[in-house]
C-alpha cells in the first residue's frame, strides 16, 4: 500500500545514532531504508515514491510523550483516543503513553486492549498505555501487572495519586521485578498534601487557598528511592516539580539506582504567581511552584538528570474549569503546543541545543518505557517528525484538535512548528 518516502535536504538529528548533519532519509514499506548525505530520487519514479523537500527544516525521530491523559474510556467529552491522537500527530508526536486513571481504570488486559483498539481505529499516532499499579487506583491490592504487560502495557502507575502505603508500594516494586516493566509514580503523600489545591507558599497564603507543600512530593520520592534499594526494578518519577526532588534524583542517580524522571512544560515555565487571579487553567497537580523550583528543574535538564520531557496533557471541559479555584479539577492541556513550550523553556535560554532537546523527546523517553523507538536507525519503523525550527506561531486553543481548551498558554508566541508527522511511513499530519 504505502510504498515509499524520500525526505531530502533536511538537517537530520538522530541523537541515538549521534547524527546531526544535512542528510536524506528514505523510507520503504514503513521502514527506515537508507540514511545518507545524498539519496538520489532518480530511478524511483513510477514506484509511487513521495519526495519531501525538508530544506531548512529538522528531520528528527518521531517525538514521544510518555505522559498524556486521553480520558477514554469514561470521559469522552473531555478527550478521546481519536481526538488526542489527532492532537498528538499535529504536535509531532508519533508515540504517546496514556495514563490509566480513566473510568473504568485501566487495570486488566482487556482494558489495555481496548486502548490499543481505539488507537488503531484512530490511525494517527502510536498509543501505548500504562496500567494501574493497584486495582481502582485505590492503593490497596495489586492490579494484574503480568497480564497487562503481556497485553502490551508499557509500565504501571496510579497517576493522579501516589501509592500511599509504603508496604503496598514495596510489594508492587518487588512483584514487578518479574517483568521487564517500569513502575512510575506520581509522588504525592496525601497526608502532607491534605486538601491543597496549589503550592503551599506565599501565593496560597495571599489567596487564602489550601496549599500542597513541596514535601508531599519529596517525602514520597525519598521513600520510593529507599524502596528501590530493596526491590531493584526500573522506577520512574513522573512530573517532578521541586528543587528538593531534583536533589533526590541527583543523589539516587549518583548511587546508581535504576531511576528515571520526567518534567512537564508547565513546571519549566510557570510559577505559583500565575494562580494570582484564580485562573483555574493554572490549577495543576503537582502544582506550579516557585521560581527557584523552575530554575532547579531547568538546571536538572541542563545537568542531564531528566530523562524525558512529558506534557502531562490533562484535558478538561471548560464547564469543569469554570469553577471556583477550590473546586475545579487539576490539569493543563498542553500536548498540542508542547514542542514550542520546550523550545521556549530550554532552547531559547540556551539550556539545550536542538539535538539535546530532541534526545529528551525521542530516544530517552523510549528507553524509560522500554520501547524500540526514538531513532532513525536503518530497519526501524519509520516514525519521523519534520520541524521548522524558526517558524513562530501564536498558540490558539480554538485551533486545537484536542477536545479541551484548558490551556494557559493561549495567546503565547512560540517557535518551533511541526511541519510533517510521519507514523510508520505514512504522512499522518501536514501543516
Amino acid at each position: 500500500m504505502h510504498s515509499g518516502l524520500l525526505i531530502k535536504n533536511g538537517r537530520l538529528i538522530d541523537p541515538a545514532n549521534g547524527i546531526d548533519k544535512k542528510c536524506d532519509v528514505s523510507i520503504v514499506e514503513g521502514i527506515i531504508a537508507e540514511v545518507r548525505e545524498e539519496i538520489a530520487d532518480s530511478g524511483r519514479q513510477g514506484r509511487n515514491f513521495t519526495v519531501i523537500d525538508a530544506a531548512g527544516k529538522l528531520v528528527v525521530p518521531g517525538l514521544i510523550d510518555i505522559h498524556v491523559h486521553f480520558r477514554e474510556p469514561g470521559d469522552e467529552e473531555e478527550e478521546t483516543i481519536a481526538s488526542g491522537s489527532a492532537a498528538a500527530v499535529a504536535a509531532g508526536f508519533t508515540s504517546v503513553v496514556c495514563m490509566p486513571n480513566t473510568n473504568p481504570v485501566i487495570e486488566n488486559e482487556t482494558d489495555v486492549e481496548y486502548v490499543h483498539r481505539k488507537a488503531r481505529q484512530a490511525r494517527k499516532t502510536h498509543v501505548y498505555t500504562m496500567g494501574a499499579i493497584t486495582k481502582g487506583l485505590e492503593g490497596v491490592e495489586l492490579a494484574e501487572m503480568g497480564f497487562m504487560a503481556q497485553a502490551g502495557a508499557v509500565g504501571f502507575t496510579d497517576d493522579g495519586c501516589g501509592v500511599q502505603d509504603p508496604a503496598v508500594m514495596l510489594r508492587a516494586l518487588k512483584y514487578a521485578t518479574m517483568f521487564d516493566v517500569v513502575i512510575a509514580e506520581h509522588c504525592q503523600d496525601d497526608r502532607i498534601a491534605g486538601k491543597g489545591v496549589m503550592n503551599a507558599g506565599y501565593q496560597s497564603t495571599i489567596l487564602g487557598l489550601p496549599g500542597i507543600d513541596s514535601l508531599a512530593e519529596e517525602a514520597m520520592l525519598w521513600r520510593d528511592i529507599q524502596l528501590i534499594k530493596k526491590a531493584k526494578v526500573r522506577y520512574h518519577a513522573q512530573h517532578i516539580s521541586t528543587g528538593g526532588s531534583v536533589e533526590l534524583v541527583r543523589a539516587a542517580k549518583n548511587d546508581g539506582l535504576p531511576l528515571t524522571c520526567e518534567v512537564a512544560p508547565h513546571h519549566l515555565l510557570l510559577t505559583e504567581d500565575c494562580c494570582g487571579e484564580y485562573d483555574t487553567n493554572f490549577k495543576v497537580n503537582p502544582p506550579l511552584r516557585g521560581q527557584e523550583d523552575v530554575d532547579a528543574l531547568r538546571q536538572a535538564v541542563a545537568d542531564g538528570l531528566v530523562d524525558a520531557l512529558a506534557s502531562d496533557h490533562a484535558p478538561h471541559l471548560q464547564s469543569e474549569k469554570e469553577l471556583e479555584f477550590l473546586a475545579a479539577p487539576f490539569g493543563i492541556a498542553s500536548l498540542e503546543c508542547a514542542l514550542g513550550l520546550y523550545v521556549k523553556a530550554l532552547i531559547e535560554p540556551g539550556i539545550l541545543d536542538w539535538p539535546a532537546l530532541i534526545h529528551l523527546m525521542t530516544e530517552k523517553p523510549a528507553k524509560v518505557i522500554g520501547i524500540d523507538k526514538g531513532t532513525l536507525g536503518i530497519g526501524k519503523q519509520a516514525d519521523v517528525t519534520i520541524i521548522d525550527p524558526n517558524a513562530e506561531y501564536k498558540i490558539d486553543v480554538s485551533t486545537f484538535r484536542s477536545k479541551s481548551r484548558n490551556c494557559p498558554y493561549h495567546g503565547w508566541t512560540v517557535k518551533g512548528k511541526v511541519d510533517k508527522t510521519i507514523v510508520g511511513g505514512e504522512i499522518r499530519f501536514e501543516a
Binding site: Y202, T205, L207, L209, E277, Y278, L323, E324, L326
Partner: protein, 326 residues
C-alpha cells in the same frame, strides 16, 4: 431635613472618587480608598440613630444575600444594611457549595442575575469565589467572606472601630491572635491595618500560621505573653474547628494556656487596650468571659459599626455601577 449620606460624602472627600463596582478584598485597595469607605460609613452611622432608620439611596435596587456557608451576624448585618438603604433583599442560603451536589456557583449566580438583581453579597468556602463571580456576572459583587482569603467588610469594621476610638491607626501596635492560617479576617485586617499605618503582629502556634508568613507585611510571634504588654489593640480570632485539618494543637486546654486571652493575661496589657473579636465567641477557649464582657472589650461595638460600614459599601458599589452606565 435629614442629612443624607451623600452630602456627608461630598464634604469629606475632595479628590478621590470611588470607582469600584465590586468589593472583593482589601488587598487591592489604597489607604485613601479604605479611608473613603470609613468616611462614608460615618455618615451612615447616623441613620441608625434616627427614629426612622431608613435612607433612600438603594430604593428600587435588589440585593441578594448569597450565602454558601453558615453565617448569622454577617448575613443579618448585610440584610439590615440593605434594608436601611431601602433596597429589596433576597436571602439565598445554600448549605452546600459542592459542585457534585447541585448547580455550580456560576449557574446559581447567572440564574439570580436573570431575575434582575443589582448587588450580590456572597459568602463561599472557596478563596477567590467572589472574584470568580465578579468576572462572570454584571451585578456588583460584595465579598462577605471567601474561604480563608478575605472578609473585607469585617476588616473595614475593625479599622472603623479602632479609628473611632483611637482617632487613627497610624503607629498603633495590633496583635491578631489565633488561627491565622485559616482566617480571612486576619488577612483582611492585615491589609487594612497595615495600609492605615498600624504595626500588626500575628500570634499563634506555628501550626496555625500560613505558609511563608514571613513574607507578609506583619511580624509573627508564637508567644502571646511577649506581645500582650506592647499592643494597643488585640483581636482574638475564633478557633474554627470546622476548618482545622488534623489537630494543630494537642488540646483546647493547652491552646488556651498559651493563646487564650485570660483575665490574668489582661493584667499585663496596657490599660487602654482594645479587645476585639470577630465573633462568634468561643467563651473560655480563645477568650475568657470576663475579658469578653470587660471594660476593654469593643466586641459589640464592632457589630454596631459593621452595619454602618456595610451600608457604606453597598452604597458605594451601587453608585460606581450607576456611574458606569452613564
Amino acid at each position: 431635613m435629614p442629612i443624607t449620606a451623600n452630602i456627608l460624602v461630598k464634604k469629606k472627600s475632595k479628590q478621590l472618587k470611588w470607582h469600584r463596582k465590586h468589593l472583593l478584598g482589601l488587598r487591592e485597595l489604597s489607604a485613601e480608598e479604605i479611608g473613603y469607605i470609613l468616611d462614608t460609613a460615618v455618615g451612615f452611622e447616623q441613620v441608625s440613630t434616627r427614629s426612622v432608620k431608613k435612607a433612600p439611596p438603594l430604593r428600587g435596587k435588589v440585593v441578594v444575600n448569597l450565602f454558601f456557608e453558615d453565617s448569622t451576624r454577617t448575613r443579618n448585618s448585610f440584610a439590615l444594611a440593605a434594608n436601611r438603604l431601602s433596597a429589596d433583599i433576597i436571602e439565598f442560603t445554600k448549605k452546600t457549595s459542592s459542585v457534585s451536589k447541585g448547580e455550580t456557583l456560576l449557574d446559581t449566580a447567572r440564574n439570580l442575575e436573570a431575575m434582575g438583581i443589582d448587588i450580590v453579597v456572597v459568602r463561599h468556602n472557596a478563596g477567590g469565589a467572589s472574584r470568580f463571580l465578579s468576572r462572570n456576572v454584571n451585578a456588583c459583587v460584595v465579598n462577605a467572606g471567601d474561604g480563608f482569603c478575605e472578609h473585607p467588610t469585617q476588616g473595614l469594621l475593625d479599622v472603623y472601630t479602632i479609628r473611632k476610638i483611637k482617632g487613627t491607626l497610624e503607629g498603633l501596635k495590633i496583635a491578631i491572635v489565633g488561627d491565622v492560617a485559616h482566617s480571612r479576617v486576619a488577612r483582611s485586617d492585615m491589609w487594612a491595618m497595615t495600609k492605615l499605618g498600624a504595626e500588626v503582629t500575628f500570634v499563634g502556634p506555628p501550626t496555625l500560621m500560613p505558609a511563608q508568613a514571613e513574607r507578609l507585611p506583619v511580624k509573627v510571634s508564637y508567644c502571646l505573653d511577649e506581645v500582650i504588654e506592647k499592643v494597643d489593640v488585640i483581636n482574638m480570632l475564633r478557633i474554627q474547628f470546622e476548618r482545622l485539618g488534623g489537630n494543630p494543637f494537642p488540646s483546647i486546654r493547652e491552646y488556651s494556656h498559651y493563646f487564650g486571652l485570660t483575665a490574668e493575661r489582661m493584667k499585663r496589657a496596657k490599660g487602654n487596650i482594645l479587645v476585639m473579636h470577630p465573633g462568634p465567641i468561643n467563651r473560655g477557649l480563645e477568650i475568657e468571659s470576663e475579658v469578653a464582657d470587660g471594660r476593654n472589650s469593643v466586641i459589640l461595638e464592632q457589630v454596631t459599626n459593621g452595619l454602618a460600614v456595610r451600608m457604606a459599601v453597598l452604597f458605594l458599589v451601587n453608585q460606581a455601577a450607576a456611574q458606569r452606565v452613564d
